[in-house]
Symmetry: C2
Subunit: 187 residues, 2 copies
DNA sequence: AGAAGCATTTGACCTACATCACAAATATAC
DNA sequence: GTATATTTGTGATGTAGGTCAAATGCTTCT
């Protein structure tokens, strides 16, 4: 459903029906089943995705086969391997679906076209990027300043729904601890 | 010197002389001595700064008085408390000069005006924000996946000049370890 | 419904890094 | 140029969280 996208954008810039139709014409839609991949490490990444429904994890697997989760993307979130996307390098992240998921796909080419054709779009994406930057700074600060336990409690407060939808193992690897440690923390 | 700024912008969008003059008219300039603050925690933040020369540290001090460094900003870097800046909340960071420093100041108001008047400016800031986002993601991944020693070596490779300019105590608090640990790592 | 595969908990032990304390070496200021 | 502060190094000891291993619960698939 593109209603989500429209509401999402209009939180930042109001659009006329025509403008939204124009924006939407730059997207395609895609449905994925649980366990399917949007990208795998090494892939070329020329899309960014807006999650309409479902849940995606963005993760990197290190040399010793440990998975580190950079982001969970649920309804109304954007996700991609933005390094690979912006710099046109091979993906170092993999994106996989933790639930059946529907996304709207925006290619880099269409994104640039859209931004140059409609300043409101460029404005929207600038703001999104600014807010995203702030959110990541917060996460860095929280990794630097707080213990695993505090981060766990913080997350529990901020995204309670994740605890229903995601196995603890994955939450642990988002928080930067092992599943054993997380298990001991929650008791 | 505004030459720095022009070259910096033109890495992303070419500008005519008139356009650059227009851009520059939105900035003011400011010189600070070592140890002066650009902002302190609690302040209102309505500017973002482009460092022409010198060196600034952006840091947060936690309840137990430990300082955590989020960013060093040297020549050609942008710095602010972007959370406070974009969300108009009181600063949670303080920005202070580690050397005599010259900055170009862009108020939020002028920034928005500039972006709406000149699409090239909006495009520039969108790209900067995108690249900044990617850089922070990398830092998060490095905090999640690597040991203090690896982070130290990585930093040594990426920003060798910092090691001349900044006391080790501060590097340690950027890397997320104590100065004692850093000292032991480097031997 | 039963088998096969995940997810979670708990225990014993280990390691990277923190903390505290003090000494030596450099800066900075009067 | 001596005094005061700041920075750095090193030792002894503490602790959060990691690793490995085994037991028990849950899903999911046929």
């Amino acid at each position: 459903m593109s209603v989500n996208l429209r509401e999402h954008i209009e939180k930042i810039v109001p659009l006329t029906d025509d403008e939204f139709a124009f924006v939407l014409s730059h997207f395609t839609s895609k449905k994925l089943k649980k366990h399917q991949f949007l990208i795998q490490e090494g892939d070329t990444v020329d899309h960014s995705w807006f999650v309409v429904s479902g849940l995606i994890k963005a993760s990197h697997t290190d040399e010793s086969d440990k998975e580190h989760i950079l982001q969970f993307a649920m309804e109304d979130w954007w996700v991609s391997d933005y390094q690979a996307y912006h710099y046109k390098t091979p993906a170092t992240l993999s994106l996989s679906c933790l639930e059946d998921t529907e996304v709207l796909c925006l290619s880099l080419e269409n994104s640039e076209k859209l931004c140059s054709e409609l300043q409101k779009a460029e404005h929207f994406f600038r703001r999104k990027a600014n807010f995203g930057y702030v959110a990541l700074q917060q996460r860095i600060l929280s990794l630097l300043t707080t213990s695993a336990k505090e981060r766990y409690e913080q997350m529990l407060k901020q995204y309670p729904s994740l605890f229903q939808r995601v196995p603890k193992t994955l939450l642990a690897s988002y928080l930067g601890v092992t599943r054993e440690t997380l298990s001991r923390l929650s008791s």
